[in-house]
Symmetry: C2
């Protein structure tokens, strides 16, 4: 029997805490009996939650007590200073000490970033962690980073993002030479800023599979496996995409409920509409990786429901299985050695 996988869940994080984390955990365990999930948080609350969910005797679920919790609007600095026994911090400590293989949290992003960095430390050669996720494309999906961890990035940071994204795509998709794009705008002569141009040069001179500049619409075309950008731009692109998808879903709903005839056609089109909704359901894409740390940390959307949070746990399982941080660190080592040779 292969070694089991243990994931620490910040059970108090996110907008809903145990209310979402417990059912998500139960549902993941039903599909992954080899996994152990540590519910980190208030033990009284969690015991009661498990009982209510009829999951008290689930052998894959264990409670690990933590007396505090990080608020969703708490400043990262305050979380670091005052919440040493928060469910988030304790879950990360479990990863640090090797009790857990990964941590999943729907808690406040800034605090999770800062605490992860403080507890787990960065991989050698990586300056900053980056938030990375797979976005749907007309083909399969596109890995995009950074999505909001780093507001201002220089060319070297973008290069590190390319490297980490490439390793992640290789590990998760089994794609040996993921193609990489640098997000840019297409106007001539006013094309790009200095960081972007310099990053493109760095990546194209490395042995990464650099494909060229990607424009905003390339994210969803699927012609690039990995697209890198600074966290400000990435976050705006991500949120803008959500906004467009929501607006379109709203238009469709409105049009189909306009009159009895359109309502009838909606009924007939139901299977199609369901498939459509599923294809753009952001819950299916929940679970962003905090890359560059000495450990696996997955950030779930704060407002995630059980289905979405379950997907974030599955991302963690996959990254543990593929040993993502080790792969990044191995790649970095080879890269640094080659750099010395040159």
């Amino acid at each position: 029997m292969s070694k089991g996988i243990t994931i620490a869940l910040d059970a108090m994080g996110g907008d809903f805490g145990p209310e979402v984390v417990i059912p998500a955990a139960v549902s993941v365990l039903a599909q992954h009996p080899e996994v152990t999930l540590l519910l980190v948080g208030d033990k009284t609350l969690l015991s009661a939650g498990l009982e209510a969910a009829g999951a008290s005797n689930n052998p894959g679920l264990k409670i690990h007590h933590a007396s505090q919790q990080v608020e969703m609007d708490e400043l990262p600095s305050s979380a670091l200073r005052n919440k040493k026994d928060s469910s988030m911090r304790v879950a990360l400590n479990l990863v640090k000490e090797g009790t857990a293989d990964a941590c999943v949290s729907a808690g406040n992003t800034g605090a999770l970033m800062a605490t992860s960095r403080f507890v787990l430390k960065m991989l050698p050669g990586i300056t900053r962690p980056a938030i990375c996720t797979a976005l749907p494309s007309t083909k399969t999906h596109t890995w995009m980073l950074d999505l909001g961890a780093n507001v201002e990035c220089d060319a070297e940071h973008l290069f590190q993002f390319a490297l980490m994204g490439s390793v992640l795509a290789a590990a998760v998709d089994g794609n040996k030479r993921p193609t990489i794009g640098v997000l840019n705008i297409g106007e001539e002569e006013i094309k790009g800023n200095e960081q972007v141009k310099e990053a493109a040069r760095l990546i194209s001179e490395s042995d990464l599979n650099y494909k060229g500049y990607a424009e905003g619409d390339d994210i969803y075309k699927g012609d690039f496996d990995v697209i890198v950008c600074d966290g400000f731009v990435g976050n705006i692109a991500l949120k803008t995409s959500e906004g467009v998808a929501k607006m379109i879903a709203g238009f469709i709903r409105k049009e189909f409920t306009r009159n009895p005839l359109t309502k009838l056609s909606a009924l007939l089109a139901m299977p199609v509409l369901k498939a459509f909704r599923r294809s753009i359901d952001p819950r299916r894409y929940n679970g962003a990786s905090l890359l560059g740390l000495r450990g696996i940390v997955i950030k779930s959307h704060g407002g995630a429901d059980a289905l979405a949070f379950g997907n974030a746990i599955k991302v963690a399982v996959l990254e543990v299985r593929e040993g993502v941080p080790h792969r990044i660190s191995d790649y970095l080592q080879t890269y640094q050695e080659n750099r010395k040779v040159i």
Copy 2:
């Protein structure tokens, strides 16, 4: 009878030149008989085009010869230096000398920006032109700028964008106090970069109707009338939106053609699908304003068809009618005077 409106059309610009510009012009004239359209470009080609379209005797259409044209991939500096008789430059000259009230071009954005700036000059108090357009929202639309003219912007530029966007929204929508947002990301403590924070301060201290930070998804919610950002971010947001909308349209098409049953349901849902397609049809939103110039310049998408190019002409007509540049300049003057008083 009110004074007629004259618009100079860069008839050779864009991917299709007269092939698109002539039918667009004919169709706009059918709805706006008070307008005169000057087709600027190769007179032999344009005469032949008018004849082929049966529009040789249309009193609203006049040809104005220009011997050159700016290529779509030509560098702005080259266009400025070598294309003094290009259809683009001549059309802008017609605005400069007062023969035309506005210019519409589907030509290369960089060249149009540079040539407009050179020929028309900036309004006093405005440092750089900005590209602004109305994007659809669940309510009505959101004016967004800059969409790609200025890759790097400081707080003062963003403030000027807010001012120009506010005047445009007021003029076109008859909205006296348009609400203004500064595009930003929502993460705590890593919130925004310095320019964005400083721009927010400048706008909130002015008498513009500052509402707060807008995130990417706010563009399509319709809670802000005007959203400002630098041209890099704006261009990425715009292109990303196009990408999402295209991907979704593709998903829907695929799902509806999956099997005979879904094809039948598509047939029944046709009116709804048509309404949906219309609601997100980017051609309806074609025609971006180059704001901040001493004259009205409208940039059409390079790949615009006649419907889309016609919409760009209509944007020009509307801005002429509302006297947008004068309004911006009046507002600026009042603003500068108030600033002196303080």
